[in-house]
């Protein structure tokens, strides 16, 4: 039978292809119980494979909680069954996709998911109801069109986002795209980003005042700035750190007013190293870098990062990309032309008022394709790819408002483009307005969802769309964002009207509610978070929207914006307004309150599962050692296949991998070279008898030394068999040594001590 692996040979980047093979082997190991479920969970998360609601095998069906009888009881993580469908997140750096990539995404949605592509609030794509068995092929097919899912989830550097208008925006300082691209590439899989206690999100913005990149709510936010130095123009970034939403939102702190472009990658690396070393590991709720920045204070944090910067080994990649930055440009498909006497179809004017943005480059425009709830079908994606090929070329981007933009549209083509979009149901007006509601996955698919964010979003969207053309402009321009719980994946903190799901008990029943969060500031890169005013039953939220917007129109003074209005009216008065909707009738008199939008089941929070917002904290050593074990496993397979030379090579590689795991605990930047690894290992763990301390470890170290110093040239079965066994024993010894060091709390006592907190180095 043909396989994708064979079919795509030569079309995948070698490294991506190898990583996917490795993941496939890790799947085999997990199924055989040879890889710990926690390590596997974080491993798969780092490949973008998330758990999905009900994957613990329980689901309330409206009457009772069913145990879903999956055939196998193998797990792919704590309380996560192997056979249960999951979500696959696909990383799209700065949201840039091409028509060919859209085609592939559509194919994958059809074959492996539910024929729907979902755009997330961080410019990614997601597929739902995917079987883990299908993920390696899914990843291979993505790799063949240059997309990786690596580090889309897990405790890692997540998708690097950027303004969807970068490069064509009328108010940007310069195009941040090549920097976002370089940053994303540099940090992807970088050894210094592997030991985080939590996720790390980076955003790039071309200017300070607009909203597009939301830098203030990011772990690291970079705003383009230019300076004239010695008569020469210099590019750099205003750098912010420690922002983030979640249950405890933080505004990012200014790290540096002008970070020259050459320092962008080294500082990003230094921040990663500091976060990996000093960030909280045990308490997940306080592990984002925002907590570290708050704990240390920005001054101290900056000092430690700059110290770290000094001791880092130089890397050509820090500046290697810069020579190409000026040459970075996008190729429009069509010639620029003004829209003059062209025939304009019905609905065109209204659509173009909200969905068309005139580019800095005369004669070109950006068109926003509004996706209800961020969703588009596989067939729409394929047709959209066709449309993009005709009008836009490769210049497609996703947005954090869960839409897609087509850039470099010749203005004269707009009416034709509109007709084409309309034909496939993608020409709804209202992009970036109150009807363009953002929502996280919520109870539809998220294990942590409390109330239905998507159900509510659809309801609000439907109601407002009906009267969209009669709404005042002041209302049209408001933003609504909804999260299914306090974790704020729907970014409710930065909306004019934000909502997050909660539950209240009335009698002995649960009622879905939403907390109303008002006056968040989306502009100026998410400059302020909203105020929580009160909790209202889910079914009455649309009326809350109506009442608040009506009052805003009626009572706003002059050009007062919504944030100012909220401030002026004040929390007590706003609360009084909400109180009109807070009462919940008994179940007998109105059962509709006791179920959620779009879901007739009686509401329950019993379906909540263990969240995988990042997964388990797995240390770099644990990963390295799991890797060593995988290599031994692969060498075993080669032995079975009678390929003794390869079995030997893999067993040796496995020993080196285990050795470097231990060395790295003391010497983080140890060069990945066999001689160095063996020497460092010998001096640090063998000569000092640290390894020999328990379980006769030093005997096992001899296996590594012997293989390193005297490789064989005659590969017999016996020889290969012995070396595979020795590798296994050596790895065991390393495990034992690491455990014993951990118990004694002496892991990582280094000859080259890292920068200390609170101690300025001279």
């Amino acid at each position: 039978m043909p396989t994708w692996k064979e079919k795509l040979v030569g079309r995948m980047d070698q490294q991506l292809a190898e990583e996917i093979d490795i993941f496939e082997t890790q799947m085999v190991l997990r199924r055989q119980g040879k890889l710990d479920e926690k390590i596997f969970a974080e491993t798969r998360l780092r490949r973008g494979c998330y758990g999905q609601r009900y994957d613990n095998g329980h689901r309330h069906d409206g009457i009772r909680t069913q145990q879903l009888p999956y055939l196998s009881d193998v797990t792919k993580g704590p309380e996560t069954l192997w056979d249960a469908p999951g979500m696959q997140r696909i990383k799209i750096p700065f949201g840039g996709v091409t028509p060919n990539q859209l085609d592939t995404l559509a194919d994958l949605a059809e074959e492996y998911a539910d024929s729907v592509l979902h755009v997330t609030t961080r410019q990614d794509f997601q597929l739902h109801y995917v079987h883990i068995e299908d993920t390696p092929d899914l990843m291979r097919r993505l790799a063949a069109v240059g997309i990786t899912t690596r580090e889309a989830c897990g405790n890692s550097v997540r998708n690097v986002t950027a303004c969807p208008l970068a490069g064509v925006c009328r108010s940007e300082v310069f195009d941040v795209t090549p920097y976002a691209k370089a940053c994303s590439k540099f940090l992807l899989g970088h050894p210094d980003t592997q030991g985080f206690g939590r996720k790390f999100k980076i955003a790039f913005s071309g200017c300070k005042d607009e909203a597009c990149a939301l830098t203030s709510m990011h772990d690291m936010g970079c705003i383009a700035v230019k300076r004239i130095e010695n008569g020469k123009e210099r590019r750099g970034f205003e750098l912010y750190v420690g922002g983030g939403l979640g249950a405890v939102p933080h505004q990012a702190k200014l790290f540096e007013e002008f970070l020259p472009a050459e320092e962008l990658l080294p500082i990003a690396q230094a921040i990663s190293r500091v976060f990996a070393r000093l960030g909280e590991k045990k308490n997940r709720a306080a592990a984002r870098i925002k907590f570290l920045v708050t704990k240390l204070g920005i001054e101290e944090f900056r000092r430690i990062v700059l110290e770290e910067r000094k001791i880092m080994p130089a890397d050509d990649r820090w500046t290697g990309y810069l020579s190409n930055v000026d040459r970075y440009q996008e190729t429009p498909k069509r010639q620029p032309a003004r829209l003059n006497g062209h025939d304009r179809p019905e609905g065109f004017e209204a659509w173009s008022r909200t969905n068309v943005y005139a580019q800095r480059q005369a004669g070109y425009a950006v068109v926003t394709v509004t996706l209800p709830l961020g969703d588009l079908s596989a067939s729409q994606s394929r047709q959209l790819a066709k449309i993009a090929r005709r009008f836009s070329g490769d210049n497609i981007r996703t947005t954090v408002e869960q839409n897609i933009v087509l850039r470099w549209i010749s203005e004269a083509d707009l009416p034709d483009l509109y007709r084409e979009l309309k034909r496939i149901g993608l020409a709804q007006p209202g992009a970036g307005t109150i009807v363009d509601v953002t929502a996280c996955p919520g109870t539809d698919t998220c294990k942590l969802g409390i109330a239905s964010s998507r159900g509510l979003a659809a309801e609000i969207r439907n109601r407002l769309s009906e009267k969209f053309f009669t709404l005042e402009d002041a209302v049209k321009n408001l933003h609504i964002k909804i999260s299914g719980c306090f974790n704020s994946c729907g970014q409710h903190h930065i909306a004019d009207l934000g909502f997050y799901g909660t539950s209240r008990t009335i009698g002995n029943r649960k009622v879905p509610h939403f907390q109303v969060v008002l006056g968040g500031k989306w502009q100026q890169n998410a400059a302020a978070y909203g105020l929580a005013i009160g909790t209202v039953p889910s079914k009455r939220i649309p009326e809350v929207v109506e009442l608040l917007t009506e009052r805003y129109v009626r009572e706003r003074s002059g050009n007062e914006n919504f944030q100012e209005f909220v401030k002026r009216i004040g929390k007590p008065e706003l609360r009084r307004m909400l109180e009109l909707f807070m009462d919940v009738p008994s179940f007998e008199s109105d059962p509709s309150y006791y179920s959620d939008w779009g879901d007739p089941r009686v509401f329950t929070i019993g379906d909540l599962g263990m969240g995988e917002c990042a997964g388990e904290v797995v240390s770099t050593v644990q990963f390295d050692l799991a890797n060593a074990e995988r290599l031994v496993f692969e060498s075993q397979l080669k032995l079975d296949e009678e390929d003794y030379a390869e079995a030997d090579a893999l067993a040796y590689k496995a020993m080196l991998q285990a050795a470097i795991a231990l060395v790295r605990t003391e010497f983080h930047d140890v060069p990945d070279h066999p001689n160095t690894i063996v020497n460092e290992f010998r001096t640090r763990f063998y000569d000092t008898n640290v390894l020999g301390d328990r379980y006769a470890g030093n005997k096992f170290a001899q296996y590594l030394f012997r293989r390193h110093e005297a490789p064989t040239s005659v590969y017999t079965r016996d020889y290969a068999h012995r070396i595979v066994e020795e590798a296994q024993l050596f790895i065991e010894a390393v495990y034992a040594c690491h455990d014993s060091l951990s118990e004694r709390g002496t892991v990582g006592i280094s000859a080259k001590s890292p920068v200390q907190v609170g101690k300025a180095t001279p």
């Binding site: 059809e110 079908s377 879901d599």
Partner: protein, 173 residues
Amino acid sequence: MDLYRLGIKFFDVAGERIEPTEFIPIFHEWIQKQTIENHLLIDVHNYSHIHDGPGILLVAHQGNFSIERADDRIGLLYYRKQPVQTFTEIIKPAVQGCRLLENDARLRPRLRFRTDEVLIVANDRLLAPNDDETFSALEPQVSSALNHVLGKSFGLTRISDDSKERLIIRAQA
């Protein structure tokens, strides 16, 4: 059988207006009763906001059911997600789904599925590329499975030869 990612769509003939959301409580009820044979029914998803999308989706471990209206023709589409021994295992659950819907008091008599025309979708671009060879290889197996389950003989035609599209077969009695 290596190829199992297949879809089958049955079309409505009644032509009455039915709101997509009317299917939501019905699908939830199927889950409560685990009504579909040899299927572990898991969840319902409302995709009715997508033009040309899967409409209302019923997810099962073995395959997904959806009420969709591609090309303005409402119907029940079943996509197989797990291996099968024979094609009949793909046709049978779809037929059972159609029967259940037709006989549901909430929908009767507004929905009736025709059994003289079905679409078969080869949802696997590796094992079943959209070409004559695949069509010829599938034709005998598909017609005999349809004949076996629906008791009629069918003539099969390929819908499009666009290599980007999947192989889609129209079967007419």
